[in-house]
């Protein structure tokens, strides 16, 4: 059975093709259109998925959209009318936004793909999140928690899933919290207040939180009240996201927390204002963690299960995930590589396959690499036109040369195989560097990533060695395989891993099993043999404001526009300059 899943129209649109119960291809539109967080109907992603699967649109048995647009329109309309008359601006905006294309998804799919009406299915938004979290996790029975800004009406759901290998699958969502009471919107409101872009800057709030003390936690707790049934409700007096498009926080909010930060104001942590922003970030982070821990601990008591699957955009908060693992009572926590809306394309297709059509369960490959692959010889062709010499190396020599480059302090663009689904570079489209020196971090921020200095970089380490360098709780390595948890760096290694140790002594590590990305794993081992520390700095291969690179040409363009020293794509290597033997032998390791 061939099923195409689609997510679109709000942020991070994507398409995924599932054939006979297993994914064949999945990619975000932004990787192909080269527009960051592209929310357009993902025509390029659909075309690529069909091409990768070797099928035509008419061969599809079903096309599944990841949410119910009419139910969403119902919520938008009801919310706008409830806010009338002061919400008339929001009403006009919402109608303009929705009526043109967003609610006519069935017709849009028919028009573009030419499939018949009866082949077009819809799942609910949080069902897609739940399926993306549970059906891709290495577990047969788990509690499920999904939480994000909002889907149709639900902003958070709890439930449980059960699958029998080769047999039936059940996903049951037991309860939900409804709009406008939303953990995602709470965090996004603080993101906007702190001057960052909503749906993009939440990472920055999490990074900034480590520099602050949660001295505003009591004020934040006043904005989100706990209810008798264990859930929560926002005090809407602090918010305006449900009544206006102009801003998401109210004057009451500003009275409680002080003047908001303008997006163009630099964050200087040596000033009182800068420290206040960090303290507010720390406070909302703490309160988010408290609520999530209460919810997950209650879910653990209710279900008695040992595994928990987390979905929705809030599941990208690695600090909260690590606390949930430590404090909720669950033994294992699974977060998919794309817990946000992009992953819903895959979730919707899997939900339709297992639940709607009742197809038997299939073991899911535990990796995130479902995107376009590299073309052999592409780097040689492009670099040759540009006048740079490319070397094509055997596997052993490539790994040895690359490890030597990294040990010599060079910064490396690394492209390997198929690209990742989701916002994180997990070893196939990465910038790699030695993790030892704070100067490397500063150079990456200044010359390559062009981003705020308070944002940390992540380490990657072979899973077997992760416990030697990081304080992982039981189940921590599993959570860290997709870089989904933030854990302390062992105190004795913090200075030797300065480039990847955040100000609070933590790191959002990737604990890499060899079967997931064998070449990167071998590179880590080779680097460890050279330097004694098999850890590398791993950050996404892109520049600020751009999507992660997809094809070799984009990797090469990025390599040429920033301070990356060496680019490796498949078995081909190109460097910006030739190093003398003395330089090549120079080791810049402070470990």
């Amino acid at each position: 059975m061939k099923i195409l899943g689609i997510s679109a129209h709000y942020h991070d649109s994507a398409a995924a093709l599932v054939v006979d119960g297993l994914p064949v291809a999945a990619v975000q539109e932004e990787r192909l259109s080269r527009r960051k967080n592209d929310a357009a109907f993902p025509l390029q992603a659909i075309e690529w998925c069909l091409e990768a699967g070797g099928i035509e649109a008419e061969d599809l048995d079903a096309v599944v959209f990841y949410e119910r647009p009419m139910l969403k329109f119902d919520r938008i309309l009801t919310t706008a009318l409830r806010a009338w008359p002061q919400g008339r601006g929001a009403f006009t905006h919402a109608m303009k936004n929705s009526l043109g294309e967003k609610i006519w998804v069935r017709g849009l799919i028919q028009a573009h793909l030419g499939v018949s009406r009866k082949k077009i299915l819809f799942t609910e938004h949080h069902q897609s999140h739940a399926a993306a979290a549970f059906l891709t996790a290495p577990t047969t029975e788990a509690a499920i928690l999904t939480t994000d800004g909002v889907g149709e009406w639900a902003t958070l759901t709890v439930g449980r899933g059960r699958r029998t290998p080769g047999g039936a699958t059940a996903i049951e969502l037991l309860r939900e919290v409804r709009w406008p009471h939303s953990l995602g919107m709470l965090y996004s409101t603080f993101t906007a207040y702190l001057g960052f872009a909503v749906n993009e800057g939440e990472y920055k709030v999490m990074g900034l939180a480590s520099y602050g003390a949660p001295r505003f936690a009591e004020q934040v707790r006043k904005t989100i009240r706990r209810t008798a049934d264990g859930a929560f409700s926002l005090d809407l007096g602090y918010f305006e996201f449900h009544t206006t498009v102009a801003r998401s926080y109210s004057q009451t909010f500003v009275d409680a927390f002080g003047p908001p930060r303008a997006a163009w104001d630099p964050i200087d942590l040596t000033t009182e204002a800068g420290q206040r922003y960090a303290d507010i970030a720390a406070s909302v982070q703490l309160v988010l963690e408290e609520v999530l821990i209460d919810l997950t601990a209650a879910l653990h008591r209710e279900t008695g299960l040992s595994d928990l699957c987390l979905g929705g955009g809030v599941a990208l908060n690695g600090v909260a995930n690590a606390r949930i693992l430590r404090e909720s009572g669950f033994e294992r926590l699974f977060v998919p590589p794309a817990p946000g809306d992009a992953g819903c394309a895959l979730g919707a297709a899997l939900y339709a396959d297992r639940v709607h059509f009742g197809n038997p369960d299939r073991a899911f490959p535990d990796h995130p690499f479902w995107g376009p692959s590299l073309e052999a010889g592409e780097l040689a062709r492009i670099a040759d036109e540009d006048g740079l010499a490319v070397e094509t190396l055997g596997e052993a020599e490539l790994i040895a040369r690359t490890a030597a480059d990294l040990a010599a302090g060079r910064i490396l663009g690394w492209m390997d195989g198929a690209s990742e689904l989701g916002p994180r570079a997990l070893g196939h489209r990465s910038i790699l560097a030695a993790p030892h020196s704070a100067q490397t971090r500063d150079r990456l921020n200044r010359d390559i990533k062009y981003r705020e200095e308070f944002r940390p970089f992540a380490p990657v380490v072979p899973v077997e060695q992760a416990g030697a360098y990081f304080e992982l709780p039981p189940g921590g390595a599993g959570l860290a395989r997709f870089m989904s948890g933030v854990f302390p760096v062992k105190p004795q290694w913090r200075s030797a891993l300065a480039a990847v140790t955040h100000v609070d002594g933590t790191a959002r590590l990737q604990a890499l099993p060899r079967e997931m990305a064998p070449r990167l794993y071998d590179l880590l081992v080779a680097y460890g043999t050279l330097t004694g520390v098999p850890v590398l700095l791993n950050t996404s291969f892109n520049l600020a404001g751009e999507p992660i690179v997809n094809r070799v040409v984009e990797g090469y363009s990025t390599f040429r526009r920033c301070g990356i020293d060496v680019l490796v794509a498949g078995s081909e290597r190109v460097a910006k300059r030739v190093w003398t033997p003395a330089e090549a032998a120079g080791m810049e390791i402070e470990a």
Binding site: L77, T78, L81, I103, W104, R106, L108, A111, H112, G114
Partner: protein, 69 residues
């Protein structure tokens, strides 16, 4: 994928609208007394959307949109 012209695509979207709008109205009606009053407004808005989609696809109709409003 089969490439269709803009007009053809918009006409396909237009032809699917009645079903989608009736799904919405039916859902609101089943939602009970407190939500039934939204159903006529939702249908009106969907019709407005239909006109907008049609006008965007068939440019010859655009001048007549002013006459409707």
């Amino acid at each position: 994928m089969k490439k269709r012209g803009r007009i053809q695509r918009q006409l396909i979207v237009f032809s699917s609208m009645a079903g989608s709008a009736s799904d919405l109205a039916r859902g609101l009606w089943k939602g009970g007394g407190s939500r039934r009053w939204i159903a006529p407004l939702a249908v009106f808005l969907c019709l407005t959307g239909a006109i907008l989609v049609l006008a965007a696809g068939v440019e010859a109709l655009a001048p007549f949109i002013y006459a409707i409003f």
